[in-house]
């Protein structure tokens, strides 16, 4: 079967994504959406920010346009640019512009990674003006009423240099995400990875052990996402210790000594 190709603005999430709320984040996001307020998601990597966005897009029945930000992401990459086709120049909208025009949810993942000049573009969209200036065309696009801007960033992981500017962050409703409670995390691992409750419990315990190491050599402990990865491997017949090594330990550190310690932790559990 050939893969389906869709325009991003026509991409509606049809099936309900699995998401376990940890607090009142769903209600807050909905309220922000109805009041046309942009939302900032904070939290460590792999704790469910992106899944939450998918879930909200499904709930609100809006297309979700996700842009993963990086060092070289320019304003043109978001807004659009001229292309030369058949000897003529044509304008092509960027993902942000498409979302603004069609009333989609635009999710800028890891916004801090983008270049500083890029972030300024979203400022007029993120306050009550809700407009997107397209300087090269000399146009101003008013956002569709259903348009929503959401950005994410990971405060623990970012360096001092790359912190979000006050002028940017003070435009957003901020939702803080952290790892789910042990009970909830177990449930997530059981549901997502298809392992039994006892294995899920050990995986969650292992994750907590690695999270205890944050600050003494590890930048970040194992995320829920990594637990699900390991769980899937275990469900596919891989030995738990091997699954923990390949899906978790190797993913969180390259330091040989730390790797050995993390492996000792997993072999103590399984």
């Amino acid at each position: 079967m050939n893969a389906r190709t869709l325009d991003t603005e026509a991409y509606f999430i049809e099936r309900e994504p699995y998401y376990e709320p940890t607090g009142d984040e769903v209600a807050v996001f909905e309220a922000a959406y109805r009041n046309k307020l942009p939302v900032l998601l904070k939290g460590p990597t792999g704790c469910g920010k992106t899944r939450f966005m998918e879930y909200m897009a499904w709930r609100l029945k809006r297309p979700l346009i996700t842009v993963s930000c990086h060092d070289d992401l320019t304003a043109s990459d978001l807004v659009g640019r001229f292309l030369v086709k058949g000897g003529e120049t044509t304008w092509v909208d960027g993902p942000l512009t498409r979302a603004v025009r069609t009333g989609a949810i635009c999710y800028l993942d890891e916004i801090v990674e983008a270049r500083k000049d890029t972030m300024v573009v979203i400022h007029p969209l993120a306050d009550d003006r809700r407009t997107l200036p397209m300087e090269k065309l000399g146009l101003l696009v008013e956002a569709d009423d259903r348009f929503c801007l959401a950005v994410s960033y990971n405060p623990g992981y970012q360096s001092v240099l790359k912190d979000l500017k006050q002028s940017t962050r003070q435009r957003f409703v901020a939702l803080e995400f952290s790892y789910p409670s042990p009970e909830l995390e177990r449930k997530i691992v059981v549901t997502e990875a298809g392992v039994d409750a006892a294995t899920a419990e050990k995986l969650v315990k292992f994750a907590h052990m690695t999270r205890n190491l944050k600050g003494s050599g590890l930048e970040e402990g194992a995320s829920t996402r990594l637990l699900v990865h390991a769980g899937k491997l275990i469900a596919a017949g891989i030995a738990p210790i091997t699954a923990c090594r390949t899906a978790i330990a190797e993913a969180i550190t390259d330091d040989a000594e730390m790797l050995a310690a993390v492996q000792e932790l997993s072999s103590s559990l399984f």
Partner: protein
């Protein structure tokens, strides 16, 4: 491959005479030479190499080594002999000649420990892994240290230098891991909830009681570990089977079953104690360690007091942060004191306790350090008493109760080896071809700031230069470069498009490189300036250095690079000093200017420790490019110490190699005209600059910096 011919006595004798300084020591080396001459060339080389290397440390040790080593070749492998020689030299560094000679004489004992050294888990090899392992387990953040036996004082887990009870290295490591886990379990599962010292002090057979208690507790903790860490429990069973410790007498088996109950606590062990005392010999488990009630009591008493004070101070801070300031000391009492509460929920499956802090009935996100503190108190007391949850009032606590005291670096000559509060660094001994361990005693000190006219005068005198420097440094700032004729980009490149259209009309293929793109190279540089503050800089060199630093600061401020400045000097290895002039993230201001003005020549030029310490500091900084720039007036040199000539140069070179491995680029700027003899060897051919006129230093340094970073 040709086999080298053996050396004869005539070849060997002159070398031995030279290395062992026979002219003055009157050692008899003829027999030694004859003995060595009888051996194959490989063994000869090995022996001679080590005699020469040891002789650079101490001739007496080398002579004693030379007398014994040949006879050992048959029964010890070379790796062991090397280890023996290095151990002797380390002992010499640490405790002097007598200790070293004891090691040389005790070679048989050393050989007897061969098994321990080959298959044993050495503390220095495993502490990194086990330290992180213990930190990963729940509960208090514990430390790991070397001790005479395995025990814990409830904050630090002590392990012996080597664990070698079992045949293989792998099993010995398992044993070490099981041992630290049992010690951790003592702190985690409440062995010390009871005042053990008191409970046992009156006991008529105290030693015996302690042994029995240890066995009972180990059985209880084993059951806890079985529930928490089943994989490790399996290892423990395996170890017990290996050492035939897996059978309990029927009575002890009953105790074990009782203590395996998930609700069993230290009280149950104490309850069983009188009964168990009646039994002959309590079982002993290889991983049980010792229980030292005095060490725990002492450590706990200090911690409980400190943590209570600290928690109350932290709660006061938290209350203030969340808009509940505490009433002032003499304020009317009507203002309510913020009320903290702790809600605890136990996770049924994992047994972990989730603590939620409430302030005036509202849940509060507790910072990590407060959580850690609550956990620690909980471990000691089993609960958090209400009086702990009362925020500290103004002036209620003496900071010395809860703050760690940093010793004054000026109190250098206190303490047994003048090493209190210092950081120790290894030093490379090129003669020995090995590090001297923890050789340099390093302290960071502050430069006394001098608030005078120096900065103002210098800036006035060099106002033209400053302007010039600023301009040229400004030009280096995050430059936007326009790249033309790109295959993709932000704008259409009109020139390229016109050309391409013309090409198309002519029937030629159109280029696809029709765009312009802005490229912004963001500077991400951290630089450390290491400034020579040795006595030889006295006078105009010192003035030039200070001026240089000031002008550099002015220029660097416009550039926005992160930079730190440290001066270095010292007198012998016991007194290596680094002077903080500007820490890397400290803002440049009046204080830094005054410190620059206060730079005064100190003692001698030991460089290795300074490079190593600044490397460590730089490694902690996140930057794409890291630079270590040394400003010096001469070669490494120290007072009445081996640190001169080749030795100092080789150590500095080694320190620079270490810096390179850590991803740091080093560069040296010197005014020593003879530097060409040694600098290329130390820094590498392209990594130094010699300045012929010290007055040009400020301009040159800025110029070099510009070249290095663009």
């Amino acid at each position: 491959m040709s086999v080298q011919a053996s050396l004869d006595i005539a070849d060997i004798l002159p070398s031995l005479e030279k290395w062992l300084d026979v002219e003055f020591t009157f050692y008899r080396v003829e027999e030694l030479a004859a003995d060595i001459a009888r051996r194959p060339r490989g063994e000869q080389n090995f022996l001679l190499d080590w005699i020469r290397r040891i002789a650079t440390t101490n001739i007496e040790i080398a002579y004693q080594f030379a007398r014994r080593a040949p006879a050992l070749l048959g029964r010890m492998d070379w790796r062991m002999i090397e280890a023996w020689a290095l151990h002797a030299m380390d002992s010499y560094d640490k405790s002097g000649l007598r200790a070293a000679l004891l090691v040389i004489e005790g070679v048989d004992g050393f050989a007897a420990q061969r098994h321990a050294r080959v298959a044993g888990a050495l503390f220095e090899d495993i502490d990194g892994i086990l330290f992180n392992f213990v930190r990963g387990l729940s509960g208090r953040r514990l430390n790991l240290a070397q001790g005479d036996v395995a025990y814990t004082d409830s904050e630090t887990l002590f392990l012996p230098t080597v664990i070698a009870e079992l045949e293989t290295l792998e099993d010995n490591f398992r044993l070490a891991k099981a041992t630290v886990t049992v010690l951790w379990a003592q702190t985690r599962f409440g062995t010390f909830h009871f005042d053990l010292q008191n409970a046992l002090s009156a006991h008529p057979r105290r030693e015996q009681a302690l042994r029995v208690f240890t066995a009972l507790e180990t059985l209880r903790l084993e059951a806890c570990i079985r529930r928490e860490l089943p994989g490790l429990y399996r290892d423990m069973q395996y170890l017990k089977a290996l050492l035939n410790e897996d059978r309990l007498s029927p009575t002890w088996q009953i105790y074990a079953n009782t203590l395996a109950d998930p609700h069993a606590s230290v009280e149950d062990s104490l309850r069983l104690l009188p009964l168990a005392m009646e039994e002959p010999d309590p079982p002993r488990f290889c991983y049980q360690g010792e229980i030292r009630p005095e060490a725990v009591a002492q450590c706990m008493a200090a911690r409980i007091q400190r943590e209570k004070a600290l928690l109350r101070v932290k709660l006061a801070q938290l209350a203030e942060e969340h808009g509940h300031p505490l009433p002032a000391k003499d304020a009317p009492t009507q203002i309510p004191v913020p009320h903290f509460q702790l809600k605890q929920e136990e996770d049924a499956a994992s047994g972990a306790v989730e603590m939620e802090l409430m302030l005036d009935g509202v849940p509060l996100p507790a910072p990590e350090d407060v959580k850690a503190l609550l956990t620690s108190i909980q471990l000691d007391l089993g609960h958090i008493p209400d009086e702990y949850l009362t925020p500290a009032g103004p002036g209620e606590y003496d900071p010395s109760l809860y703050q760690e005291q940093t010793p004054d670096p000026n109190d250098v000559w206190q303490g047994a080896y003048h090493e209190i509060g210092a950081t120790l660094y290894d030093e490379w001994d090129f003669g020995r071809q090995h590090y001297r361990k923890n050789w340099c005693v390093m302290r960071e000190k502050d430069v006394t700031p001098v608030y005078d006219d120096f900065a103002r005068e210098t800036l006035a005198r060099y106002s033209g230069v400053v302007k010039h420097l600023r301009r040229s440094f400004e030009a280096m700032r995050d430059e936007n470069k326009l790249y033309k004729r790109q295959p993709y980009g932000d704008e259409v490149d009109i020139d390229a498009l016109v050309e391409a259209l013309a090409d198309a009309r002519d029937g030629r293929e159109m280029s696809d490189r029709l765009f312009t793109r802005m490229h912004r190279a963001e500077r991400n540089i951290a630089v450390m300036f290491m400034v020579d503050m040795s006595g030889s800089t006295r006078g105009w060199i010192n003035d030039a250095e200070r001026e240089t630093l000031l002008l550099l600061c002015e220029a660097l401020e416009t550039l926005g690079d992160r930079y730190g400045i440290y001066g270095f000097s010292g007198q012998t290895r016991k007194r290596c000093e680094l002077y903080r002039i500007k820490e890397i993230d400290e803002p440049y201001g009046e204080l830094v200017k005054a410190r620059i003005s206060g730079i005064r020549p100190q003692d001698y030029t030991r460089m290795g420790f300074a490079i190593r310490h600044l490397t460590r500091l730089l490694s902690r900084v996140e930057a794409r490019t890291k630079l270590l720039i040394t400003l010096s007036d001469g070669k490494p040199d120290d007072y009445f110490d081996v640190y001169r000539g080749q030795y100092g140069i080789e150590d500095t070179r080694q320190a620079l190699i270490e810096a390179k491995r850590a991803g740091i680029h080093s560069f040296c700027i010197t005014i020593d005209q003879e530097a060409r003899d040694y600098l290329p060897h130390m820094y590498g051919a392209a990594h130094y600059a010699i300045i012929d006129d010290v007055r040009k230093l400020p301009l040159k340094v800025a110029d070099i910096y510009r070249r290095l970073t663009t």
